[in-house]
Amino acid sequence: MWGTGVLKGMAVTIKNFFDTYTSKNGIFTVEYPEKRLPEKERFRNFPILVYDEKPEELRCVACDICAKECPPKCITIVKAKDAQGKPLKQPEVFDIDFTVCMNCGICEETCPFDAIYMDHEFELAEYDRMDALIYKKERLSRPWTHFEKIRPTDAKEINERRAKDATKTAAAVKPAPPQASNQQT
């Protein structure tokens, strides 16, 4: 009969209307600034550089692999030089252009020295684009404890692997470069 489909449709919407008051998960909104969604562990937003103890000693050895691997080429690395001009195993300039980075996580996969990981921080809106959105080395570096806090299972895996590599390199006469195991990060 004409009109029954229309009435059934209205019944659905009114049920949803009263669900928001009666049933627990009627309201689907998570009120952002006050309440936040539980963060997924593997969420990747922008990369960070990781250091163990002191912020000057980054794990990164400026090997430029991630700069070559990055599809949109947004990483710029300059090797540090000590007084006599001999290149050091530290990046002098390591900046990532956040207006080009596409959060794809390829740098995290291909870094052999576990130096660069993807962070969960997403509240990065800025008023000025020129210098605020080109992250220098200082703004990118985070302690390893921060990484263990946001990604516990991955951190546990990586620590075991690094411990195993450390013992292997210590045991072996010639320190072989740390081999990535089957199940990398």
Binding site: T76, M102, R129
Partner: protein, 233 residues
């Protein structure tokens, strides 16, 4: 009224006491700013993947309606916030600038996503404009590709903070003789004519600022810039 000679100074002590008794003491400016801040109507204008995240923000879970920004007005006349969500290509730039000109005056621009800030991952493309701030002034930049809906809400809250800070004397749109009509680029054989709007896009000043910083530090060696080599291959 103290409006002409600088904004009237209202000492905070008196204000907080009155507020305790429920009397709200506010200057006309704060009332204007509060009105504009809490009912921003975005323009229904999506370009690419970030537009889907913008729609997800308007949907049930993140609910931009809580901020009063629920009515996505289709016509630029009634909108006062343009969220440039997605890659602005050279073929689309005249439309974007014309839309910006058509919007009624107290208008704001949020560039959402890496593509609209500076070309993003498609920066090297021949048909991609490297950032919309070459043609129109931008208030808030939200990096990310695409930024999470919460990042868009965070950007909106930062825009609200910026609106709070505005004052009637210094706001551009109230000045006489302020030309707020931005020239619309035309299609040339190779790209857009003119490629950027000199009034809005001032990298040169920024360049001088960085030169002065660089002399101060004076320690750089030769800079190996992979991007240069990648493009010329």
């Amino acid at each position: 009224m103290g409006l002409a000679s600088g904004s009237p100074t209202v000492d905070q002590g008196l204000k907080s006491e009155l507020e305790k008794e429920g009397v709200v003491l506010t200057t006309l400016e704060q009332l204007y700013n509060w009105g504009r801040r809490s009912s921003i109507w975005p323009l229904q204008f999506g370009l690419a993947c970030c537009a889907i995240e913008m729609i997800a923000t308007a949907c049930a879970r993140y609910d931009i309606a809580r901020f009063g920004a629920e009515l996505f007005r289709p016509s630029p006349r009634q909108a006062d916030l343009m969220i440039v969500a997605g890659t602005v290509t050279k073929k689309m730039t005249p439309q974007v600038v014309r839309l910006y000109n058509q919007m009624a005056e107290p208008k704001y621009v949020i560039t959402m996503g890496a593509c609209s800030i500076a070309g993003g991952p498609f920066k090297e493309g021949y048909n991609v404009l490297q950032g919309i701030d070459r043609f129109i002034p931008v208030d808030v930049h939200i990096p990310g590709c695409p930024p999470r809906p919460e990042a868009l809400l965070d950007g909106l809250m930062k825009l609200q903070k910026k609106i709070d800070g505005q004052s009637i004397e210094s706001a551009e749109w109230y000045q006489q003789g302020q030309k707020r009509e931005f020239p619309i680029p035309a299609f040339g054989p190779k790209g857009l004519e003119p490629p950027y709007n000199p009034e809005v896009w001032k990298p040169r000043e920024y360049e001088q600022k960085k030169q002065t910083e660089a002399e101060a530090r004076k320690i750089h060696g030769t800079i190996h810039d992979p991007k240069q080599s990648a493009v010329s291959q």
